[in-house]
Symmetry: C3
Subunit: 155 residues, 3 copies
Amino acid sequence: MAGEIEKKLHELGITLPTPMAPIANYVPFVRSGDLVFVSGQVPAVDGKIAVTGKVGDGLSIEQGQQAARLCFINVLVHLKTATGGDLDLVRQVVRLGGFIAAPAAFTQHAQVMNGASDLAVAVFGAAGRHARTTIGVPSLPADAAVEVDGIFRIA
Amino acid sequence: MAGEIEKKLHELGITLPTPMAPIANYVPFVRSGDLVFVSGQVPAVDGKIAVTGKVGDGLSIEQGQQAARLCFINVLVHLKTATGGDLDLVRQVVRLGGFIAAPAAFTQHAQVMNGASDLAVAVFGAAGRHARTTIGVPSLPADAAVEVDGIFRIA
Amino acid sequence: MAGEIEKKLHELGITLPTPMAPIANYVPFVRSGDLVFVSGQVPAVDGKIAVTGKVGDGLSIEQGQQAARLCFINVLVHLKTATGGDLDLVRQVVRLGGFIAAPAAFTQHAQVMNGASDLAVAVFGAAGRHARTTIGVPSLPADAAVEVDGIFRIA
């Protein structure tokens, strides 16, 4: 029987893909007590990064938001593994980190990162309201346009 | 009756403003157990960002330090809400993250971030001595010159 | 009698230097419960930063990896202090943050950060497998090429 969060994902038209292995010598998440630390995720779809380049220099705000949303979907993939497959065990989205590949003149990082934050709230409701730090970066691994990591409290 | 930390703030000539709402879909802090995660704060005064641009390219080290200090004051605003109004319940400034908007040739990030760190120690004494990570960034939300976030342990 | 981790470091030919004081008003680590937060470390050797400049613009991937490895050695130095000198008390490398000074066109951040991650796994084995967030930055304190911070769970 699908859990509440799985139903919500279904309503949102989101199918969580198979977890993708990290591209280097680390793991997608570590649990410590009731906190789960999820590694920085890129906007990968079917093992390929779907949104590359710089937001505000070739990519629009909307493309950046879509990238942030894809990053958060990949965060969810690993969070699901961390909860033994039951996302209903997530008690709180504690903190998201948002890294936006953008030029020095860019100023709309917050709007871009909302692509991840809005999905967090759409999926988890009140428990999805999180602390957040969003910054610009010159470049990201494999030319990803956005990277998102997260800390979660689980039951 | 004012608490010890409020007295210290008064001695330092600091009045904590009314909390400013985040400029996007997230919350200013999340508590998990005895840890409080405060979202990245910009150098806002009265709802406007007081220090914009790049440190080392238009802005001096001193202006950067002032920006970092303002960021930390905004961190304190939300930390006060997190403690139900009583900053004396703060047991430890655990970690500060410092993000300095600066060009590639800039090297004095540590001095800039001291604007936040020095205030943390001035306000909280020994409990204000924190772990810290400071980096340069090409750009920050709304052209802020500095952004600071924090993790705190509270009673 | 040397502990297991000290033996492993010896096998790897690594001698942990004397802890270097932070270059500003903060401390190298803070413990909160069973978590230790280690401040961002630069590739310093004998008190001087051994690898400066930008990876992918003057510095090779290999030089960047060596810088990341040196950063993690400095993380270990402070982690040893945090455990009262007994690194065998480290239960888990929870999360590493990797900051690679690099130009906008750089894409191989993950390979660079492996210089730190590979050492974490070589030293701690299964407990060394960590969550990780790696990003590019335009500049770092004192022109360091790489900076690494960490969160650890200890006994």
